[in-house]
Symmetry: C2
Subunit: 212 residues, 2 copies
């Protein structure tokens, strides 16, 4: 290692007064988080196909090379943005199966629809869904996350026969509610109270997961 | 009416030997159908935002002015393309409620998933769904069609309390299955047999429509 070698931009930039670290523009503490936030905004505004690494870099105030350095090619950047957008949903499996399977339908329904009902958590999800519906690469990222990380873990916890298919049918119902209520906005579903929707949907989700 | 007035391009071109009708390029019998077919292809390939009247006219082999003449502005062209793509689904309500409500869940489920299961009828639907998820105007067209023309008619036929919400919850389940099975393609749902899906989903759809 010599003094002329570029500093690793993934490492936190050392804060030494009077001696600026020799990193790419915008590297340093918080750079990865800024890039992911900018990526979410870029994918939300332009969709997967039209989103660009250059646009993400500009939004984050970093050199475009840093986007690749921290996150890799475009599909990896998308995966990272999706993962952050799905963070609330990824917390689901531990919570909903913790106390046994009896109330899993209601807990899963309330949690997922609650995430969609809050505009703050809805917007990034909406952006991801739009990209996943329009683009095969984005769909594959979405598929891995939804199928393996959310539905697959619920299926593992349940330990019933056909658990994978059961979890996906339950998930499909919630995806469909989200589509018609929050994306397409059909009435009266779009304006119905969350409690009424949960009361009607939770028994069905429970049936798919643990019913005969 | 004088001989110098342009012929109405919506009227079938008169077939008089030796005297060509003075219509816009491409007008005449079948022009409307050719334009709608070209519109479906244009919306499927480019999505609502990027689809152009010029591209549709080119695909149909007609003057761009004729697209507007036959169908109106872009959103009306989209609505016409959607209506043709949904023609199989629009036939549903009459069929599924004809013999009473007892088997409506199975009939609706089998019909809608059957339309999605056939690549010929799936492709135009997929194109429409992609446009509706990405664009508000396209979503409004989709909403009118799905909510009023399909789910609303089923609700009217059922004549139960809360029929509108019930039909939308049932529809949401089928939309969600279509999304995860045919668009996102999660496994094992994507590869499961249609009969198994119908067997698991139909009772739930029936419950939403007519259950307690």
């Amino acid at each position: 290692m010599t003094g002329s070698e570029p500093a690793d931009p993934a490492a936190p930039a050392p804060r030494r007064r009077g001696r600026p670290a020799r990193t790419a523009a915008g590297a340093g503490p918080g750079a990865r988080e800024r890039i992911i936030a900018a990526a979410r905004a870029e994918f939300a505004e332009h969709g997967y196909d039209k989103a660009s690494i250059r646009g993400i870099a500009k939004g984050a105030g970093v050199d475009p090379a840093l986007v690749h350095h921290y996150l890799g090619p475009k599909e990896k950047v998308f995966a990272a943005a999706v993962e952050v957008a799905f963070a609330p949903a990824l917390a689901v499996p531990d919570q909903i199966t913790a106390d046994g399977p009896e109330q899993v339908g209601e807990r899963l329904t309330r949690f997922i629809l609650g995430v969609w009902d809050d505009p703050v958590t809805r917007e990034p999800l909406l952006a991801i869904v739009r990209s996943a519906v329009a683009n095969e690469t984005a769909a594959a990222v979405f598929r891995d996350l939804v199928a393996s990380r959310i539905l697959g873990r619920i299926a593992d916890e349940l330990g019933v026969p056909d658990a994978g298919l059961r979890a996906e049918l339950a998930g499909a119902h919630l995806v469909g509610i989200a589509m018609l209520r929050y994306v397409i906005k059909v009435e009266p579903l779009a304006s119905a109270g969350l409690d009424e929707i949960v009361a009607r949907v939770a028994p069905v989700v429970q049936h798919h997961l643990t019913g005969p």
